[in-house]
Point group: none
DNA sequence: GATGAATGAGTCTTCATTCAT
DNA sequence: GATGAATGAAGACTCATTCAT
């Protein structure tokens, strides 16, 4: 409890605490779900006492909100980046979109977030609403819009552009869910970037007139 | 040692009590997840007392297992029916497959089951294993095999047949999850049969040489 | 309820039911104690339904009372028989007393009753009172009186006659408790008649002037 | 998810909490038996909340085991002390033994422990086994051995030495049980030291040739 | 600020008791 | 009379939350 003078190295500063707690909480919530998650587990994994958590969060639900919040923010950035990048042709747009998404799906813990959103949507409708309104509708809407525009230019066959969009990105979602759900019990994993590359090329070939 | 209440009790008695309990439990588990589900809720929704549940199930977990079990069985039948039907050409096979699956997805509560499997896979690994081994691997394997066979006949372009299979059915899964997750908070629903019809035709067009 | 004329053998009559229930209850109570005894066990062991018990007894406690009652009655008879028999000399009285008691202790389930009385005395003080007042005080009192009389005649050395009485019969009680408590876990049993014979002779030798 | 009460809490905190709980539990178990004992009672008597008990013991059975354990240990010490003391003659050995035992029986709560052992032996056979193996067999064995040795030296008449041993100490046990069972309902108590002194002298007189 | 012992409302589970059949 | 499915009050145990230190 008292700090030895000459041991500077692993002295954590209190400013990091909330993030560490949220990180630990994310792991536990993603693994167990909200109700089955134990504050003891979170505290232990964060390396703090249970009481310390309450210095930064008022309730378990608040921690959960913070976890989800931290899952939304970076993806918003990804979206913005995607929107900023502006490839010339529609196929390149789709390829770039899929590539970035596959990379994100492969390298970030977004799978845990998605699991939580799916699993807790009914217990925390606000959570589902935030994800839907701030991430999914914009993303899906942008994709749908791009498809509709390409259709207007005659580059894409007729058809419901929203269905085209869903057909394009669904394998990514399923791949992420697969990794969270079945890989831990021995299922053969999917190579998401490879899956998406093949899928996008197939889709594009099927979508052009 | 316990005080008699004085209210009327006992309404009926039946051999299908267990099914009523499982049905009620399915609703509650699908809505809340395992941990957040309350036996009181299940009992109330089944129209029985909490104690009555324990005449048929030893633990909450047993009820959960029974719920999942009842979600596996009918789908096994669907699979078998699919295998029995044997359309002449590969595209017709895929079309038939997608049609049946879209119908099942639209008319059965499989979405709730899938939510439960995703949400509780880590807490009940056996559950994930059963689903993976008995339903998903056979179904995905059959589809993958059919694709590989069509590739061998030159009817389908080269490419990882498992990735093709995933690309084909993913929108269905996503559609079901969407319905469970976002529709309750106001999201625009997907017309699964229509989505799948368009998706399959697009995929087929993209898959042929 | 009606006795078929030609099937006399295994037709239980309702008049036997209470006794069968009490007998079954005795086994279960003696083994588990009152609180840990299950009416299901009792019903099963008595070969009746749980509901049937309530045709004859209003509560679990009533069954317990009946069990204890049935344990008191026969011993009262034994006491009376002892009192009726009137050997000539004091040593013969003691010998006869010890012999009868050892026989009873060896051949009746009185051990279970005693265990119940000891174990439940605090939860059912009335039970302890009945045993004390109706069995123990009379028996111990008679023995003490006989000893005091013998002392008055100069046949027994001075000393507290109640202590002499306790010293005489204690090994019997301990032997019975031993059988109920330690023999089931592998303890070497006591041969109660032999133990009592040796003990009585030793005591008598020590008690005479 | 739980509503804060608003009353003052937390009074003290100590390392000897477990001992206080065991002490309280001993009283309740000795009075009610294991099954009828309520954790609420134990908690209230220990001056802690029900939840606090679970900081120190995992289950009700663990508390029970701890209670019994604490009843074994001191008696083991008594035994060792008895063995260490080595009077010259056999009668003095017996007198010392009886005196110490009577003192222990009169001044310690061993009666409650014995009641528990007798009452719960069938529900917790391990409990009976521990007492038998670690306390009773050594004690009874030592006494029996001393008697046999004295017989070999011709100081004691022939006869089963184990029966002699049982005859010597039984009144002590019965006295303790009497105190627990009948004294609370108004029975005349026994003066254990006086009883034992008279009993031992009587026995010794009867045992010598 | 941090800790972790303590709290107590809430949950699963049991079982004596009831009553429709 | 008998049955046993059903009840519901109560008990063991959990865990988010609090607060003395």
């Amino acid at each position: 409890m008292s700090l030895p003078a000459g041991q500077p190295k692993f002295r954590r500063r209190k400013a990091d605490r909330p993030d560490e707690i949220v990180a630990a909480a994310f792991e536990v919530f993603a693994e167990k779900g909200f109700a089955a998650a134990r504050l003891d587990d979170i505290a232990a994994r964060a390396g703090v006492s249970k009481g310390a958590i309450y210095l930064y969060f008022a309730t378990k639900e608040d921690i959960f909100q913070a976890v989800v919040e931290q899952g939304v923010a970076p993806n918003l950035h990804n979206l913005a980046a995607l929107a900023a990048a502006n490839p010339q042709t529609f196929p390149d747009l789709i390829r770039a979109f899929a590539k970035v998404m596959a990379h994100v799906a492969s390298t970030t813990p977004i799978g845990g977030i998605i699991k939580m959103v799916i699993g807790e949507a009914r217990n925390f409708p606000e959570l589902a609403r935030v994800w839907h309104d701030r991430l999914i509708v914009p993303a899906l809407g942008a994709l749908t819009g791009a498809i509709a525009a390409a259709q207007a230019r005659g580059e894409i066959r007729p058809g419901d552009p929203r269905h085209y969009a869903a057909g394009l990105i669904s394998p990514l979602l399923v791949g992420v869910i697969w990794r969270e759900t079945f890989t831990p019990v021995g299922a053969e994993p999917f190579d998401l970037p490879a899956l998406m590359e093949q899928h996008v090329e197939t889709q594009l070939r099927g979508m052009v007139p």
